[in-house]
């Protein structure tokens, strides 16, 4: 019997094998790899050198508060902190009540809070105790949420009440002495960006649903009106709609009604976003099987009841991913208010660049603004994925 000499098999595990498989599998792959390495080197070496030596990052530290809240009165800053504490309470509560569905998000918030504490301690800013409090509140409400009876209802209700309450807290009112009104032209920075995003999205949803139903209506006049509105809005740039809201809206209102710029922008966003959300919702409506209508009809539900209790819940659940996408893209689009003169993150960046001390720090300031948007969008994307999983989108 002869023994067959077998070559040892080609290395299949280990770093060398990984390199061979993923970077140097063929000659053109190897060439591409080398090209990419060269490109990375050519791009990142000067960028890193600039970031560590030439860049003046002091501009960020000096203007951090401006970035966050704009010209919001500094003596009223406690109100902004209160919204953050309430938010961490809500996140903690949701974590306690909904466990897995909210855990990742809560952990991310905890991580962010811890990072803020460390950063504040490192730079010796006096905000580390506030962030510590926020983290403490989150954990406290987690424990409360674990043992809360009817937690599901309370947490849902709390989230719905949160946004109007925050609006009241930020805007203030003349009826409550401890909450003096703050003129909306002082709202700014990240605060304004987030407010516009939330108002624009949640304000547009009812209108969007109505338009979607209108577009699928059997009544021709209502259908053509909805189609006309949706296509008109989707056919023009957002900035022209904001421009209209800022300049034309007052012309269309009675003489004694002159809404503030921020309110006008919010109206513009709602009118704009409604058309896009209508298309999202329409997608969901089209995905509902005819059998659902027929079954509801057979059970004796009226047309309105069928819509409210059978069709819309399923349609909206189906389009949750699309609605989150709209949310994220509106978050980016709020930056356009800088063009009509509101002090959102982008406009604040421009004003910082006009400060005599920090002339020529464009890259530092814009990179920081990029970082803000990017970080929030990562969080939103992650949050939306968890919500989709919790709602069972695409699995039911």
């Amino acid at each position: 019997m002869t023994t067959i000499e077998m070559k040892p098999p080609v290395l299949a595990v280990g770093p060398l094998a990984w390199l061979r498989k993923n970077l140097f599998s063929t000659w053109y792959n190897a060439a591409l790899t080398l090209l990419a390495i060269w490109l990375l080197y050519a791009l990142f070496k000067p960028a890193l050198e600039w970031a560590t030596t030439e860049a003046r990052w002091g501009v960020i530290e000096a203007n951090l508060t401006l970035f966050m809240i704009g010209l919001y009165p500094r003596e009223q800053i406690g109100r902004v902190w209160l919204t953050i504490f309430l938010l961490s309470a809500l996140i903690g509560l949701s974590w306690g009540v909904w466990k897995n569905a909210a855990r990742g998000f809560a952990l991310m918030a905890l991580g962010a809070g811890a990072a803020f504490i460390l950063i504040a301690l490192y730079f010796q800013w006096n905000v580390w105790d506030e962030w510590l409090l926020a983290v403490g509140i989150l954990l406290l409400f987690y424990v409360i949420g674990l043992y809360l009876p009817r937690g599901n209802l309370i947490a849902t209700l709390a989230w719905f009440l949160y946004f109007p309450f925050v609006f009241l807290l930020i805007a203030g009112t003349k009826y409550i002495a401890t909450l003096p009104p703050v003129a909306s032209n002082l709202w700014g920075g990240l605060l304004l960006t987030l407010l516009l995003t939330i108002v624009g999205n949640f304000g547009a949803l009812p209108l969007g649903i109505l338009l979607a139903l209108g577009r699928r209506s059997k009544l021709p006049i209502i259908r053509y009106f909805s189609i006309g509105y949706i296509e008109l809005i989707r056919g023009v740039p957002l900035v022209t709609i904001l421009y209209m809201a800022a300049i034309l809206l007052p012309l269309f209102l009675p003489i004694d009604v002159r809404p503030e710029q921020v309110i006008r922008a919010m109206i513009g966003f709602i009118l704009f976003e409604a058309a896009y959300q209508a298309e999202n919702v329409r997608g969901g409506l089209q995905a509902i099987d005819r059998g659902q209508y027929e079954a509801a009809h057979a059970l004796g539900l009226s047309g309105t009841q069928t819509m409210l209790f059978i069709i819309l819940p399923q349609a909206l659940r189906a389009v949750v991913p699309a609605l989150f996408n709209s949310f994220i893209s509106l978050f980016k689009d709020t930056s356009l208010v800088a063009i009509i003169g509101l002090f959102d993150v982008v406009r604040i960046a421009r004003t910082i660049l006009a400060q005599p001390d920090w002339l020529g720090t464009h890259r530092e300031v814009f990179l920081f603004a990029f970082f803000i948007y990017w970080g929030f969008n990562l969080a939103f994307t992650y949050g939306s994925r968890r919500v989709e999983q919790a709602l069972g989108v695409g699995t039911r």
């Binding site: 209502i222 980016k332 464009h362 990029f370």
Partner: protein, 388 residues
């Protein structure tokens, strides 16, 4: 006799609902109209397009049609429209290239290239375009070195803070004579196509694919003929070169145009990359396996099986990205490129004609959108699966 009460008749109710809807709309329109007329009367203004004939008396940074400050407003608005069309048109072509490259790179088996494309898509898609435009303009192009220290890239491309200079071609004296040859070369392609098609239909066996070589060779022969008969080529290289305090020759992209074009292309390219990736991934694996088992090579599989099917999935979303690019070009105002939106704003500031400028602006963007949709819908209908 049992006559149904007419107010319970569904046909009547439908008409009633629509009538009420129209009444509500009309009431709202009337209310808005009254407000507008009261407001305008208070400001002592009237609505009308009479102002369009008055001289604009402002300068425009760059224009592709002749324009001077003494031209009327309508000319200024036309300049803005052309500027928007130019940047959108070039942008759409370039962003398709960038998007397809990045989308394919995203599917590459090469780990580094794959990660590189993923990082590009991730960062660009998650930050606002306005911020990116400002970064490219204020953070990069304006901070380029002055003319004398210009950065030279291979191929005589010069980057300076006064703009980007590219080599270009300029027509020579013989250019008109050359048009005849080029025209004949183009016509010859159609003639070849026609002859080959009729011959192919008559023949019992398919024509040899070698006949396809006539497509490049015949036109090339006509052009070559021109090269013998004409004293000089139709175009001359037009290379930018430093002379005195500025560059002479070549094609100059203003900093505003360059930043806007670059920003739009990079931003939209990231979205197209995701569409391309999703489109290619959506082609079912069985298609690839079937193609391989039929003996098609790797590139044939990609070219003849995967890509045509992926294209079908990709066209509608890519269309909406093209539209987005055209609409997003209105952000040019933030970096001072005189597009339609920016010039409309200037006209409004000078004349106070808010309603008129808005109507012009909206109609222009709307017709641009509708026209692009129309073209892409025609294309989409052509490549759709023809089912029997």
């Amino acid at each position: 006799m049992n006559i149904k009460a007419f107010w319970r008749d569904i046909r009547f109710l439908k008409i009633l609902a629509q009538a009420i809807f129209i009444l509500v709309l009309a009431a709202a329109a009337l209310y808005l109209y009254r407000n507008v007329s009261v407001n305008l009367a208070r400001q002592g203004m009237t609505v009308g397009y009479g102002f369009m004939k008055n001289p604009a008396s402002f300068d425009i940074g760059e224009s592709y049609i002749p324009y001077q400050a003494s031209d009327p407003y309508r000319r200024a608005l036309l300049v803005g429209l052309v500027n928007t069309l130019v940047v959108s048109g070039i942008g759409i072509i370039l962003t398709t290239i960038v998007g397809v490259l990045a989308g394919v790179a995203r599917l590459s088996s090469n780990w580094l290239i794959n990660r590189f494309a993923a990082a590009y898509v991730g960062v660009i898609r998650n930050t606002p375009l306005l911020l990116q435009l400002m970064f490219w303009y204020f953070g990069v192009i304006i901070q380029l070195p002055g003319v004398r220290q210009a950065i030279e890239l291979p191929g005589s491309i010069f980057l300076t803070q006064r703009g980007i200079y590219l080599p270009w071609a300029e027509p020579t004296a013989t250019h008109p004579a050359w048009r005849v040859y080029i025209l004949f070369a183009i016509i010859s392609i159609f003639i070849i196509w026609f002859i080959l098609r009729t011959a192919g239909q008559r023949a019992s066996v398919p024509l040899s694919p070698w006949w396809n070589l006539t497509y490049p060779f015949v036109p090339a022969f006509i052009i070559l003929l021109g090269a013998f008969l004409q004293p000089e080529p139709p175009l001359r290289a037009f290379i930018p070169a430093l002379s005195g305090l500025n560059f002479k020759g070549g094609l100059r992209l203003t900093p505003e145009f360059a930043a806007l074009l670059f920003g739009l292309v990079v931003y939209t390219g990231a979205f197209i990359a995701e569409i391309v990736r999703a489109g290619i991934q959506a082609v079912s694996k069985g298609q690839v396996e079937a193609a391989r088992s039929l003996g098609l090579t790797n590139s044939q599989t990609l070219r003849l099986v995967v890509f045509p099917q992926a294209l079908r999935i990709m066209v509608p979303p890519v269309t909406s990205q093209y539209l987005n690019l055209a609409k997003n070009s209105s952000l040019a105002i933030a970096i001072g490129y005189p597009d339609l939106f920016s010039i409309s704003g200037t006209v409004f500031n000078q004349t106070g004609a808010a309603i008129e400028t808005t109507v012009i602006m909206m109609l222009s963007y709307l017709s641009m959108s509708l026209f692009t949709s129309l073209l892409m819908n025609i294309y989409n209908a052509r490549i759709q699966l023809v089912e029997r």
